[in-house]
Symmetry: C2
Subunit: 342 residues, 2 copies
DNA sequence: ATGTACTTTGACACCGGTGTCATAATGTCG
DNA sequence: CGACATTATGACACCGGTGTCAAAGTACAT
């Protein structure tokens, strides 16, 4: 009992003495096929180590049981390291996909380049998950394009007013509030924010607004002089903090738009001889692994990546099934560590 | 100019006034088609937002321009975190695939369960990359199975004598040597190893051997009493170190089979009131991000994940093309940090 | 014996491309 | 002008499954 190359359903049909149609039905456990026939077919299939050709199957059924994820890189130009937060998301999304019986196609994208978002168009995936920081301005027109092609997709990220896509995101505003409240409880009066607080980075902007408006309600202002622009890298956080210090901005508490930024900030503060948390309280955002390892360990707003990955997948699957879904906001959680506990 | 649903090559043929065959040729820039016809076809295709159906295309050509990666989980049972080293590998493999014009199918696997290594059999991928720690004993029979099916695959991991597969791996033996030499230079006399030094974890075993045999040549023994068993998690490293201390084993230097283990070990040492590096020198393996963030920062044997990912991909592609390839050993590099610099 | 229902099976079209072969059109040379 | 090479195109089989439809076989009631 041998075949040239991989076994096909015709090979099985031949050896089982039935038609190819019956083989196809038997292998999918159709109730239309006789119990004994089914057993026989399965037996031969096993012996031949038969596996359904997904290309043929997908072609016929017009679906792929596959999701695709597009990961946008930070515009750091640094090839070596990927933002650990997104790496975690990638992990939890992979897990969630496996749980749902879907495969996952992964690709990195540079946001400035042409998207290879052809997965769904080319029938390789039933839907797409978009993930990554990036300039939202670039982003928007692309989304519009996906929509016009009736592509099924969900985004991780900021829930921007009027944004045309469906999103799963952390309650960034609420996260900013948590940070502000914590500073207020600690009696801090001079707060700064490190990160891009512009519409180019909606996530960061929303975090900042939750932070700023909460402070405001307690009579603390966090104006232009108290913001230092930074993208989500350690280096960027380091330099931003450095320039604040160089400009003689006085502050006793620092909220960073991400943990990587916070880690860079802590380095700059230490170098300036400032003690953490005595002189400056620091709060980050994400709760990446490193935030627990640095000294002092970093108080941070946790985003639940496990839940996030799950929600992205289940929402996308609902969308594919044609169900109505809405944006999902995940609750942030403040993780208390040494950088704010004196 | 409209189509119901997604546009096919027949739609383009219709609107461009040529046959479907010609469309197919034109879109793949076959030299057989007239310049003007090609331009016209491309124009229509663009207008209709046409994308080749990969399922049909793959079915016909019997290849997929896709690689699959199977990631074996650590047997920790901990759902939340994935070993950051493998996450990094995943990232670099994704990058390498993109560079070669291949897509990547990702799936997590539990080593004890049935592998869903059907990607290649089911024509979803042209080849498979296997990645992950795991009990090598389980592993081996599965590999044999893949081989017998003529599946193209490469493995990351230990280059075990007589192992039937092609591998890309770090020179684990050399890495162990580097650690031993460094301890010797520092004048350390009592060395311990934390990790599974058995054939169940060939990588760890090889690291240990390089370590032990180098010490031996300098008259330092590292016997059974100086080994504590651990899998690659922080917890496991913590407990293993704890039990060494509880057993009153005296040591002034500790080599951990992985950074995660080393981080756990450092925690245990600190709790026992030992100073690092004064009382105990510590060296890890991997150079994950956290090793640079902990206090004291961790001296470690770096595995070049970027290069590793690239080699895995290029070797697999060679294999697929039917070329002869051999196992690849990547040079390790000792990264000096505080945990060994007094 | 005839009709009806149900079970089980095979033949065949179909998914959307790719590759081969035949054919038509044009150009070249003796 | 006929023989032949060259270029450009269309017709068609094919990849390996899935779904529809007709039909054969069996059971049971009339």
């Amino acid at each position: 009992m041998k075949t040239k190359g991989k076994a096909t359903s015709f090979d099985i049909a031949h050896f089982a003495g039935v038609s190819q149609s019956t083989v196809s039905r038997a292998l999918r456990n159709s109730p239309l096929v006789n119990e004994e026939t089914r057993r026989k077919v399965w037996e031969v299939a096993k012996k031949l180590n038969y596996k359904v050709d997904k290309n043929a199957s997908n072609l016929r059924t017009q679906q792929s049981a596959t999701l695709a994820i597009l990961l946008f890189e930070d515009p750091t130009g640094d090839e070596s390291q990927i933002n650990p937060f997104f790496l975690n998301m990638l992990g939890s999304i992979t897990r969630a996909c496996a749980k749902e019986g879907y495969d996952l196609l992964v690709s990195f994208q540079s946001i400035s380049q042409d998207w290879r978002a052809e997965y769904e168009d080319s029938h390789r995936a039933d839907g797409i998950i978009l993930l990554g920081y990036g300039d939202y301005m670039d982003y928007q027109s692309r989304l519009q394009n996906l929509l016009s092609q009736n592509t099924k997709f969900v985004c991780w990220g900021a829930n921007v007013e009027g944004r045309p896509d469906l999103t799963v995101s952390c309650d960034n505003y609420g996260g900013g509030q948590l940070a502000a409240q914590h500073f207020i409880e600690k009696g801090r009066k001079n707060c700064v924010f490190i990160g891009d607080a512009s519409e180019h980075s909606p996530e960061f902007l929303t975090r900042f607004k939750g932070f700023q408006e909460t402070l405001q309600r307690h009579g603390i202002s966090c104006g232009e002089r108290h913001i230092a622009n930074a993208i989500s890298t350690e280096d960027s956080g380091y330099h931003a903090t450095h320039s604040l210090l160089a400009n003689n901005v006085k502050f006793d508490s620092l909220f960073a738009a991400s943990d990587l930024i916070a880690i860079g900030a802590i380095k700059a503060l230490k170098e300036a001889g400032l003690r953490i948390p005595e002189d400056v309280n620091v709060i980050g955002f994400d709760n990446i692994a490193a935030s627990n390892y640095i000294t002092p360990s970093l108080t941070t707003v946790q985003q639940n990546t496990t839940l996030a990955g799950q929600m992205l997948v289940t929402n996308l699957l609902s969308l594919i099934r044609g169900e109505d879904i809405t944006d999902t906001l995940l609750p942030p959680k403040l993780i208390l560590r040494q950088s704010t506990s004196q």
